[in-house]
C-alpha cells in the first residue's frame, strides 16, 4: 500500500484544489481595487460598499429572507409530521412511502420548476412570492424528513414503551418524549432547509412572478447583464453565509 500512498494523496489534494480554487479566487478578487476584475490592483472594500448602497439588492434580500423563513416553517411542520408519522406504519408501507418521498430530491430541478409553473397556471394561481414559498416548501419537506428520520432511528425505542407504560397517550409521548429528543435534529433540519431556500435558483426562476425577485434571481440577472466585481462580492457573502449556516446545522445534527 505504501507504494501507491503518495500518488493517491497527490490526486486527492489535486481534487481539493479543483473544488476550492475557484471559490477562493472568486472571494479573493471581491477585494480587488480594479474594475477589470481579473487583474489584481490592491485591496479595496469598494464593491462591498457598492452592494450595501444598492436598493434593489436590499429588496431582494428581504424577499429572500421572507421566502426562506416561511418555507422553512412550512417544511418543518410537514416534514417532521411525515418523519414521526411514518414510524407508526408497518415496515413495508413505511419504506414505500419514504422512497416515494425521496423522489423530489433525485429528479432534475428543472422538471420540478416547470411542473410547478404548469400547475400554478392551470389552477389560476398568479405567480408571486407565495408561489415561490410553496415551491421551496415542496423541495424542503423531503430534506427535513430525511434529517429527522436519521435522528429518530437512533432514539431508544424503550423510551416510548416506558412512556406508554406510565400511561402516556400517543400525543403525550410525542409531546414530552419524542419531540424534545428530536429538537437538535429539527433545528438542524430547519437551518439546512433555510439555507437551501436562500440558495435556490431554478425552482424560484420558474415560480417567481414579477417583482418577486430573490437574491439568487438578482445575482443571475447581474451575471446576465455583464460581469462586475460587485458580483464577486455578493458571491463571497453567499459562500460565507451558506457555509456558516450549514456548519451550524451539521453541529446540531451531530449532537
Amino acid at each position: 500500500m505504501k507504494q501507491s500512498g503518495g500518488w493517491l494523496w497527490r490526486a486527492s489534494v489535486a481534487n481539493l484544489f479543483f473544488l476550492y480554487g475557484p471559490i477562493a479566487a472568486l472571494m479573493l478578487f471581491s477585494f480587488n481595487a480594479s474594475r477589470l476584475s481579473a487583474t489584481w490592483q490592491g485591496w479595496s472594500l469598494q464593491w462591498y460598499r457598492a452592494l450595501w448602497a444598492d436598493q434593489a439588492l436590499q429588496a431582494a434580500a428581504v424577499n429572500s429572507l421572507w421566502v426562506a423563513t416561511v418555507s422553512t416553517v412550512l417544511a418543518l411542520l410537514l416534514g417532521v409530521g411525515l418523519a414521526v408519522g411514518l414510524e407508526g406504519l408497518p415496515g413495508r408501507r413505511q419504506r414505500q412511502i419514504e422512497q416515494a418521498l425521496l423522489l423530489p430530491l433525485v429528479i432534475p430541478e428543472v422538471m420540478m420548476g416547470v411542473s410547478l409553473l404548469l400547475f400554478f397556471v392551470l389552477v389560476r394561481m398568479p405567480l408571486s412570492l407565495t408561489t415561490v414559498i410553496v415551491g421551496h416548501a415542496l423541495f424542503n419537506v423531503p430534506v427535513v424528513m430525511v434529517i429527522v428520520r436519521a435522528r429518530l432511528r437512533k432514539l431508544d425505542p424503550r423510551l416510548l414503551e416506558v412512556a406508554a407504560d406510565l400511561g402516556a397517550s400517543y400525543w403525550g409521548a410525542l409531546r414530552y418524549v419524542t419531540l424534545p429528543l428530536l429538537r437538535p435534529a429539527i433545528l438542524g433540519a430547519g437551518l439546512m432547509a433555510f439555507t437551501i431556500s436562500l440558495d435556490d435558483f431554478i425552482v424560484t426562476y420558474f415560480t417567481a412572478g414579477p417583482g418577486a425577485t430573490t437574491l439568487p434571481l438578482k445575482v443571475y440577472s447581474m451575471i446576465k447583464s455583464g460581469l462586475s466585481p460587485e458580483i464577486n462580492a455578493l458571491s463571497a457573502l453567499f459562500v460565507i453565509v451558506s457555509m456558516g449556516l450549514i456548519g451550524f446545522s451539521l453541529l446540531l445534527q451531530r449532537r
Binding site: 493517491l8 490526486a11 481534487n15 475557484p22 472568486l26 414510524e87 428543472v110 416547470v114
Partner: protein
C-alpha cells in the same frame, strides 16, 4: 411493546396526512398534468389546446431537437466518466485514511457542495472568460501571447458540471470502498498480484454498488442541467434543461416543453431502475432499524 405500537398507529395519519397531501398535490399532480399536456396541442397565441395527438413526441425526432438530446446525453455521460476517474482516487484515499481524518476529508468534499450553485458556476465564468483569471495569468506568465475564448463552449459546460457534481460521486464511492475488506487486498498482494490486477479483480468489483450509485447521482442532474449550460455554454451547447426552459418561457410551446420533460423523466426513471439494482448492496438491510 404491542400496546405502544397499536397506540401509535391510529393517530399517525394525522401527522402523515398534511405532508402526504402537500407532496401529492404539488409533486405528483403537476407531473401528471405535465404528462397529460404533452399530448395536447399548442394554440395560436401559446395557450394549450385540449386535444390528443402524438405530434409533440414526433416533433422531437426533428434533427434540431435530436441533436440537443444527443448532446445532452453525451455531455452528461462525459461528466459522469470524468467524475468517476477524478473521484475514485480521492474516495479510495479517504476510505484508507485513519478514521478520524476520514470525517475531515468528507467534510472538505461536501463543503463546496453546500455553497450556492449559481455562485460556483459564476466562479468558472470569472476564471474562463476572455478577460478572466486564467487568460490573465497565462498572459502574464508568457505562456500565451493573446487571450483565447474558453468560455461558452462544451468544454466549459463539462468543467462546470464536473465541478458541481463531483461530491455526489465521491460520497457513495467512499461508502462502498470503506467496506472493502483490507485483508482481501493484502491477500492479493501476497499472491503477487500487480497493482492493476488488485484494482481490476478485487477493488472494482467490490466497489460496484458505489460506482453505480455515484454514476446515478452525477448523471441525472447533469442530464437535466439548466444553469451550467445557460451560463457557461455557447449557442451550440444547449442541453435538455435549456430546451425545456426555452419552450416554456420563450417559445411558449408548453405541450412540446411538456413532451421534452416527459422524455427527460423517462431517462431519469430508466437510469434509476438500472443503477438502484446495481447499488442494492449499498442500502443497509432494513432489519437494523
Amino acid at each position: 411493546m404491542k400496546i405502544s405500537v397499536s397506540v401509535g398507529r391510529a393517530p399517525s395519519w394525522w401527522l402523515l396526512g398534511p405532508g402526504l397531501v402537500w407532496m401529492g398535490l404539488l409533486f405528483v399532480v403537476p407531473l401528471c398534468l405535465m404528462f397529460v399536456i404533452s399530448f395536447a396541442g399548442r394554440g395560436t397565441y401559446g395557450g394549450i389546446v385540449w386535444s390528443f395527438s402524438l405530434t409533440n413526441y414526433l416533433d422531437l425526432l426533428h434533427p434540431l431537437y435530436a441533436r440537443i438530446l444527443g448532446q445532452s446525453i453525451l455531455l452528461a455521460a462525459g461528466t459522469t466518466l470524468l467524475c468517476l476517474t477524478m473521484g475514485f482516487p480521492l474516495a479510495y484515499y479517504i476510505a484508507r485514511a485513519a478514521p478520524r481524518r476520514q470525517g475531515i476529508w468528507l467534510l472538505l468534499v461536501m463543503i463546496p457542495f453546500w455553497t450556492n450553485f449559481l455562485v460556483r458556476t459564476y466562479a468558472w465564468m470569472f476564471i474562463l472568460r476572455t478577460e478572466g483569471l486564467l487568460n490573465t495569468v497565462l498572459l502574464k506568465l508568457g505562456v500565451i501571447s493573446s487571450p483565447s475564448e474558453l468560455l461558452y463552449s462544451n468544454t466549459a459546460v463539462m468543467i462546470g458540471l464536473v465541478y458541481g457534481y463531483l461530491p455526489f460521486m465521491v460520497l457513495p464511492l467512499y461508502v462502498a470502498l470503506e467496506r472493502v475488506d483490507r485483508t482481501l487486498v493484502e491477500a492479493a498482494w501476497d499472491l503477487y498480484a500487480t497493482r492493476w490486477t488488485v484494482f481490476r479483480r478485487i477493488i472494482l468489483p467490490l466497489a460496484k454498488p458505489g460506482v453505480a450509485a455515484g454514476c446515478l447521482l452525477v448523471f441525472i442532474p447533469s442530464l437535466g442541467a439548466f444553469l451550467t449550460p445557460d451560463l457557461l455554454g455557447g449557442a451550440r451547447s444547449m442541453m435538455i434543461g435549456n430546451l425545456i426552459q426555452h419552450e416554456f418561457l420563450v417559445a411558449r410551446d408548453w405541450p412540446l416543453g411538456a413532451a421534452i420533460s416527459c422524455l427527460l423523466m423517462l431517462c431519469v426513471v430508466g437510469m434509476m431502475r438500472w443503477s438502484l439494482r446495481a447499488a442494492k448492496p449499498l442500502v443497509p438491510p432494513e432489519s437494523e432499524s
